[in-house]
Symmetry: none
């Protein structure tokens, strides 16, 4: 029997065929990024093909291939002699999510917060170190002082959630939370500016912290869930009804 190499059922995932995307796909991706980053609106003109080719360090032919791709997807419109124009943005695809309208995004962000922060709270209860607990206490304290001053407690709220995230000791979850950060700040602002919300939120935080200190993952998860329910409850869903864009299948 072969000793060095694995036997017949030789599943070596690292040795599966490599796939290499053609260059124009990378260029198409870049063009989309450019559209989003430059905040181009429908009808706006893109730079000329020669300009794009020079800036992207690629031949004009390749740029054209990329444009054809985006054209067939209905995203760009090409006018001979006129230029290339933004025709439509498909909000369901990839990083373009940021152009999705706010009222559709808020519930989605809240769902994502629940998905990430409930497990984070549970993990934090399991893994927190002394330093983590100190950071959590400090975040709690900051919000306490802010609320006492009649402030809405944005800073303390942020510090607390960051400290809990750190305490989960999972760099991947932490990175995803970072990614959500911008949007989270938005929902946080919405929530905390509601009448009577900050003291309530503070109480929620104290419950979460208590469960984390006690090292009780289930209680921590429950407390975080309750907290996010309160955040989500409010009038958010009245103001911003969830997107009802596609037909669901009746159950």
């Amino acid at each position: 029997m072969a000793t060095g190499t694995p036997p017949l059922t030789d599943a070596a995932p690292a040795l599966r065929p490599v796939a290499r995307a053609p260059l124009h796909e990378a260029i198409a991706e870049r063009l989309l990024s450019h559209v989003v980053q430059s905040d181009l609106k429908v009808g706006d003109r893109l730079p000329g093909e020669r300009d794009l080719a020079r800036r992207l360090g690629v031949s004009r032919t390749t740029v054209r291939q990329a444009i054809v791709v985006l054209q067939t997807q209905g995203i760009l419109e090409v006018r001979h002699g006129g230029g290339t124009f933004l025709r439509d943005l498909d909000p369901t695809s990839g990083p373009l999510a940021r152009v999705v309208e706010r009222r559709h995004r808020l519930p989605a962000v809240l769902e994502a917060r629940r998905a990430l922060e409930i497990p984070i709270a549970a993990l934090a209860a399991e893994r927190r170190t002394e330093a983590d607990l100190a950071a959590i206490a400090s975040g709690l304290d900051l919000m306490r002082r802010e609320v006492a001053n009649g402030d809405i407690g944005l800073e303390g709220d942020g510090a607390f959630h960051r400290a809990v995230t750190e305490a989960a000791h999972n760099p991947v979850l932490a990175e995803l939370m970072d990614r959500l950060q911008e949007a989270v700040a938005e929902t946080r602002g919405e929530s905390l500016s509601q009448q009577g919300r900050p003291p309530r939120s503070l109480a929620d935080h104290e419950a979460i912290a208590a469960a984390v200190v006690a090292g009780d993952p289930d209680a921590a998860a429950d407390a975080m869930r309750a907290h996010l329910d309160h955040v989500a409850d409010l009038r958010l869903f009245e103001i911003y009804p969830p997107a009802q864009d596609a037909q669901e299948v009746p159950r």
Copy 2:
């Protein structure tokens, strides 16, 4: 001054030149992954160049280029007529460090997958459209065919999870999953290359799909949880144990 060319202040980061890595670099990376995943020891032999070329879907010339790279880095040793051997592997530094590091992140990645995909499954059960169900069925089918062919079903697995993510109709969660995509692919390969795993995974998928079709969010979440539990059941750290960094507080 040239007015035709864009001004220097025209910072469009998305339009910077694209860089494309040569194929043999990707191959070298793959070979390193293979070394780590297959738990090769110093002195062990790698598969022959012809075999590698066939499995990686690349020409022998390219494989040789990759081997030369790893040879000059002192990682591989090539013996004419004998084969290619692992010469030295220092997981604490050099190119292997990155591969090992990535591997150490896999448990964290799996936790993140649980956090995201369990709610995603539940949401998918609530919101799936006919088109979503078709995409899910198609992913299922692809994996069924792959497994029937004795393949480990990497493609089908990916297609299935992507389809479920789409069906959740939450662009934020979708983007976060996208962000994880590369790391998730690694957990996938790691899991599916275990003996007898692909058929089991397929059965898990069928359970998830059934719950989504039935529109039962709780069942879908449970099925996804069970599936990810199975996926997470790896023996990852026999070779390169991660560093134990911080003391947890006793509960």
